[in-house]
Symmetry: C2
Subunit: 345 residues, 2 copies
């Protein structure tokens, strides 16, 4: 079927109306009528070809929520009318060890990104800035009852990105967790860390964000622009979730970690960052990275969020405002995630 969409047709051009062909559902597929799609910074990086990966035309979008419109003959777990989400992962081999373990993001053959990628059939993927999406049933995750579909969309990438390391590294009662950077990822990390029972501290260089962080549930806010405040935090954190995606010096944050503490990066600065290794030695400290999460974990994360009343704080925009929204993201001018209302297509 023909689906409405917005695409960038060539490098340097804005997003504009476009039409994509969605395949008719095969036996294992579902066709989703999309309702909302979050705007993630990765959409901009790929759409603007910052990493040289763009395959134009690019239809961005990998935080999709919608209702099942059609199901293939072998689809038993999902029914027409059910609300589902699709995140970064649109396909994978489904047979390798990581896939069988539910770690599709580490598929031995490489997973298929839900946009700007080539799927196992050789077809190019067009993302969620669109009216419809066809995907294998495995990669459509049920949205728990009662969740607001628009505010749930950003959980499909942003949510799982911070949930994975919070869970892996044991955020919970008795733990002191710092969240570095208050944006799309950071605001979800505060909410989830707090819901997991950890003492949750916002680390920000902006005095203007103190009140916002407290409203989001942070137990404390530390102003990292104040050297004395930073020094007072030495050896005090079990875990710091570092959501900063720009160039920065991580040394002072490493000094805030307890012995055997861990700073986990979930943003990917585009240039190497300098690390003073002796700060890792003194305290047997660790710097880690974490990349999204698999499909079962995404379902688990959504259940956790439903149970704790967590969704993203969003600003809804119509499709014809998408270029303005992208400009504002470049200026960090969003609290905290734009979501496209696809009914406006």
């Amino acid at each position: 079927m023909e689906a409405k969409a917005y695409a960038i047709l060539a490098e340097g051009q804005p997003l504009e109306p476009y039409t994509v062909e969605r395949r008719a559902p095969g036996p294992e597929d579902v066709l989703i009528e999309l309702m909302y799609c979050g705007i993630c910074h990765t959409d901009l990086i790929i759409g603007n070809n910052e990493g040289g990966l763009a395959m134009y035309p690019v239809v961005p979008g990998h935080e999709m929520v919608g209702r099942i419109a059609e199901v293939g003959s072998n689809v038993t777990n999902l029914a027409v009318g059910e609300m589902v989400g699709v995140g970064c992962i649109a396909d994978s081999c489904r047979t390798c060890h990581p896939c069988q373990a539910g770690d599709e993001q580490y598929c031995d053959s490489g997973f298929t990104l839900s946009f700007n990628a080539t799927d196992p059939n050789g077809e190019k993927t067009f993302g969620g800035y669109s009216s419809h999406y066809t995907v294998n049933q495995r990669y459509a995750v049920k949205i728990p009852e009662g969740m607001d579909p628009a505010a749930t969309a950003p959980l499909l990438c942003g949510g799982i990105t911070v949930y994975t390391p919070l869970k892996r590294f044991g955020a919970g009662p008795g733990k002191r967790v710092g969240v570095l950077g208050l944006g799309g990822l950071g605001h979800l990390a505060i909410k989830m860390s707090k819901a997991m029972g950890a003492h949750t501290v916002m680390l920000t260089s902006s005095p203007g964000k103190v009140g916002d962080a407290e409203k989001l549930g942070a137990d404390e806010v530390v102003l990292t622009s104040n050297e004395a405040d930073v020094q007072a935090q030495a050896f005090s954190f079990d875990l710091i979730i570092n959501t900063i995606s720009g160039p920065h010096n991580p040394d002072s944050f490493v000094t805030m970690l307890k012995r055997e503490g861990n700073m986990c990066f979930v943003g990917a600065p585009q240039t190497p960052i300098p690390v003073t290794i002796s700060n890792l030695l003194v305290g047997d400290k660790t710097m880690s990275g974490s990349l999204i999460g698999g499909i079962p974990s995404t379902g688990e994360m959504l259940e956790f969020c439903a149970e704790h009343g967590i969704t993203a704080d969003i600003e809804m925009v119509n499709m014809d405002q998408v270029n303005e929204a992208w400009d504002r993201i470049e200026k960090n001018d969003v609290k905290y995630r734009f979501v496209l209302d696809l009914a406006s297509l």
Copy 2:
């Protein structure tokens, strides 16, 4: 008592004969007649005031082995004539939680380095380039029967430095462990990793070190100067012990780690090193640091080495050759650790 020693009297001067006063053993002290002292690169860093920490005169040395010459009235666990070693830690508060847990290196009050430090009594510590050393009994570790005392000396710092992360991060059967850098630390890491049962791989940029690494017990040697060889190792290591103490780019080694793999730094480059964070994200990888180990762990390490016949490969030098030995260390011209024969004082 007056003890013979070698000291650097002022910045830029060579080591020269010197006399230090050793305190008479208090009730908890032992006086050790030193036999051998390893030369660790840290001696040079502090002795030459590279980090601005030197308090001249400096008597270096923190890899000491000798025999108990006198014991204080409350010393029950050590007897005159027994062979003991002293490493980096000459004192600590002995009452804080880390001390009580045997993690004296993380004493809340800071541990007393065995040279160029000020002990809890306000006395300056002079290290093991000396005929005698007085120390609280807790910090004198028994050398197991049958170990060569000279070749054991480097285990007191170099040995525990690599033993700690190998044990913490589970080097053993079924694990693939890389050792980066073949020097004092690296050659001990190969021996210990192999003895722990891990598949042990030397990672070196020097074709000339291939044979040496194999002699030390490495199961494989990977030439890191060969880009194709490096790429062939992608996602293959559970753990890499990084012993490089100079500036270097760690990115290609991070790519060699398996998912959730860990590169642990045990050397401390003096300037920040650049890290491409996306390499940590893709594979949920980790970079850690590790700092020596506590007194109980040092004893455990010595028992492990005794059981597996592990000592350092050393080149023995007389005290009047010490300045030449330091020069050769700066040129990496030693296989793999110099040990001072203190009988030559």
